[in-house]
């Protein structure tokens, strides 16, 4: 991670009160399974198999997204389910991700295991931010989700990236420093309910560091983490290599309340705060392009800029959508600095993390529609994939629109409360009582504004993917 933009911590973050939580690795079944040689391979390999089916369908199957099993599995099932997985299991997906499996395979046979390039270590998150923005922009301008071949190109590009990374660089360099989904999952995993850490008292006397270096029992940590000093779940994929390697049985896997990690970020980074604001902008743009007001807005833009090029007009709209949450966070930080005496950037960086909860809720709410209103398309396209006749005009909905909308509002409501509480806890952890409320109130107003925008966007009807 970049050290350039680490904040000067003027006041030490108040350490969380340690609450004894059950170590899941001590559970007879969970511990045995996760420390066995079968884990995570037993889930990894079937996932790779499914990925190959998806690639086959996307590139060689029906050209219409409506009929493509690969499109349904990717964008109706996987993409909506993945943030739910991040919430409950942290970054576990990255342990079983087919790209990671390909990386490991290539590394095993032809890998030269060179250190990750310094520029990736330094600017990794910015690269991830840029890629995430680029992929979302490409989706709208060129059509990735709507076009099976476009989706196939995206997945093949990622495959080529991990092949190159696995061929030349050590561990999972691509996953840690380049993968845009890794950046997203890292941010979301901070909000997740699963936490893996070393036991401080045991690790304090350890001189082996087998968790980081690896041993004959298992590979070293694929994401370059050192559980002894690890304070974040952003780069832990719960692969349990450290648990297998540790000779002192120090590793603990515990449950925690969602968002708890966000309350006590010791070294907040501006690029991570920026990513959380960007994700909010992306949720906005995904919804805005589905509004009835979108075509008139597009025409107004066409007249204003003098071109009918969708690439140009969408880029402007995209930029504006990104700038709304970024500038609102910036404005709020500017107000907050008046009360807490720190710089605007320090406030921006520190409180940007509070947006993650609402980001995640907005993301889940948006995709909940696709999962529940189009869920049966997975079944229909799956039947067609194995050559079964599927009737025309069948509904793909698993639930009626009103119920889905209520669930969306519920999610956004929970996300709003989560972000609000997180902002409060961040303020409480960093400022004295006299500065606490002056700092918190502007961010509370920000969360209300962002919450209202999100609710408004979900009031409007959405279009289908399939």
């Amino acid at each position: 991670m970049s050290d350039l933009v680490q904040l000067p911590v003027k006041q030490p973050v108040q350490a969380p009160v340690q609450v004894k939580s059950t170590n899941l690795l001590k559970n007879k079944y969970i511990g045995t399974f996760m420390k066995s040689k079968w884990y995570p391979g037993i889930i990894q390999w079937p996932t790779l198999l499914v990925f190959m089916v998806i690639m086959f369908e996307l590139l060689l199957g029906p050209t219409s997204a409506h009929d493509n099993f690969g499109t349904a599995l990717t964008w109706v099932l996987w993409w909506p389910v993945i943030p739910i997985m991040f919430l409950f299991l942290g970054r576990f997906w990255c342990a079983i991700c087919p790209f990671a499996t390909i990386n490991d395979l290539v590394q095993k046979f032809v890998g030269s295991n060179q250190p990750a390039p310094k520029f990736l270590k330094k600017y990794g998150i910015w690269i991830i931010d840029a890629l995430f923005i680029f992929v979302t922009w490409s989706d709208h301008v060129f059509g990735i989700v709507e076009n099976p071949v476009g989706s196939g190109i995206l997945l093949m590009t990622l495959t080529t990236g991990v092949v190159a990374s696995g061929a030349f660089f050590e561990r999972r360099t691509f996953c840690r420093y380049v993968c845009f989904l890794g950046g997203l999952s890292g941010n979301y995993a901070r909000n997740g309910m699963l936490q893996l850490r070393g036991t401080p008292e045991i690790c304090a006397t350890c001189t082996v560091a087998a968790c980081y270096k690896g041993s004959d029992k298992a590979q070293p940590c694929p994401l370059f983490e050192f559980p002894k000093t690890m304070t974040s779940s952003a780069n832990c994929n719960i692969c349990a290599s450290c648990a297998k390697n540790c000779p002192n049985d120090s590793i603990q896997l515990t449950l925690r309340p969602p968002s708890k990690e966000l309350w006590f970020i010791k070294k907040p980074k501006v690029e991570e705060a920026f990513l959380s604001a960007v994700i909010m902008g992306i949720v906005f743009v995904q919804n805005v392009t589905m509004l009835e007001a979108w075509p008139p807005m597009l025409r107004w833009l066409e007249n204003a800029v003098g071109t009918t090029s969708y690439a140009v007009t969408f880029s402007i709209a995209f930029l504006v959508s990104m700038l709304i949450p970024i500038s609102l966070l910036g404005l709020t930080s500017w107000v907050a600095q008046k009360f807490n005496g720190e710089t605007m950037i320090t406030n921006f960086t520190r409180f940007g993390y509070a947006l993650i909860v609402l980001d995640m809720a907005g993301h889940m709410a948006h995709n909940l529609f696709h999962l529940l209103a189009e869920g049966k398309s997975i079944w229909f396209t799956g039947l067609a994939f194995i050559g079964q006749e599927v009737g025309h005009g069948l509904s793909t909905a698993l639930m009626d629109p009103a119920t889905i909308q209520m669930l969306q509002f519920g999610l956004v409501g929970i996300g709003f409360l989560g972000s609000l509480y997180t902002a409060y806890r961040i303020a409480k952890a960093n400022y004295t009582q006299e500065k606490l409320w002056g700092t918190f109130v502007p961010y509370a107003v920000l969360m209300v504004v962002l919450g209202i925008i999100n609710v408004y966007l979900f009031v409007l009807p959405m279009a289908m993917r399939m």
Binding site: V106, I144, I153, T157, A164, F169
Partner: protein
């Protein structure tokens, strides 16, 4: 040198990836020549011209309308929609008139064969009307992520604008799937609405296979380079 080789390879593959990440429309057969489909209805001759053979993606199309004397018709409202033949068997055995009720009894004699001359408008002539019963086909505006063109209305109709020449109307038709389809032109001339169907064959896209083989080649190069590098490293060691 030991370090620069992988760096160069990564750089090259990144450039290639960046070039390939931009999805392109799937060409049906890559042919240069266009296709003209001709139908006659109510004394009007309608030419539907595809600049290239129909492919999956945005297809620029032209429609030319001529009256019985061969004079171009200007000021017509022209819209097209993409339909899907409900049944090929039905289409072959039970041809029906395509025009609205106002046109019943009039002699519609569309030709079914496309010709390969894009601008010649050849192939006019009389043959029995063939109008397969059709159902709406999937259009691009079903997708939440796609930009819905302002010219595509809620019924999946695409309004064509007057073209450069008299009697010519042009626009873009989004085709999402290969196979047998029907382009239905909805033409209003002096308040009289006519609908005429043009059977269309969209060939299976080869883009996926091309993408797969291109990426396969790039990955093979990377793996080959990595293998050579590893061999060299182990020899040195």
């Amino acid at each position: 040198m030991k370090r620069s080789l992988p760096t160069i390879l990564i750089l090259l593959s990144t450039i290639l990836m960046a070039a390939l990440i931009l999805p392109t429309p799937a060409l049906a057969d890559g042919g240069e020549g266009g296709l003209t489909y001709t139908q006659t209805i109510n004394g009007y001759t309608i030419h539907l011209v595809f600049q290239k053979p129909a492919f999956v993606g945005e297809n620029p199309i032209h429609i030319q309308i001529l009256d019985a004397a061969g004079m171009p018709i200007t000021g017509a409202d022209v819209e097209v929609s993409l339909e899907e033949p409900a049944s090929h068997a039905e289409a072959e055995t039970a041809p029906t008139a395509t025009s609205q009720s106002v046109m019943s009894g009039m002699g519609a004699n569309p030709t079914m064969m496309p010709t390969s001359a894009p601008d010649s408008m050849s192939g006019m002539g009389g043959s029995p009307a063939v109008a397969p019963t059709s159902t709406p086909a999937s259009m691009s505006n079903i997708n939440s992520m796609s930009p819905v063109s302002s010219e595509h209305d809620q019924m999946g109709m695409v309004a064509l604008e007057p073209g450069a020449e008299n009697g010519e109307y042009e626009g873009e038709l989004a085709i999402e799937s290969e196979g047998e389809l029907v382009v239905r032109a909805h033409i209003t001339i002096q308040g009289e609405l006519m609908e005429v169907d043009f059977p269309l064959h969209v060939e299976k896209s080869k883009t996926g296979a091309v993408v797969l083989s291109t990426f396969g080649f790039i990955n093979a190069v990377i793996l080959g380079a990595a293998f050579v590098l590893k061999q060299k490293s182990s020899k040195k060691a």
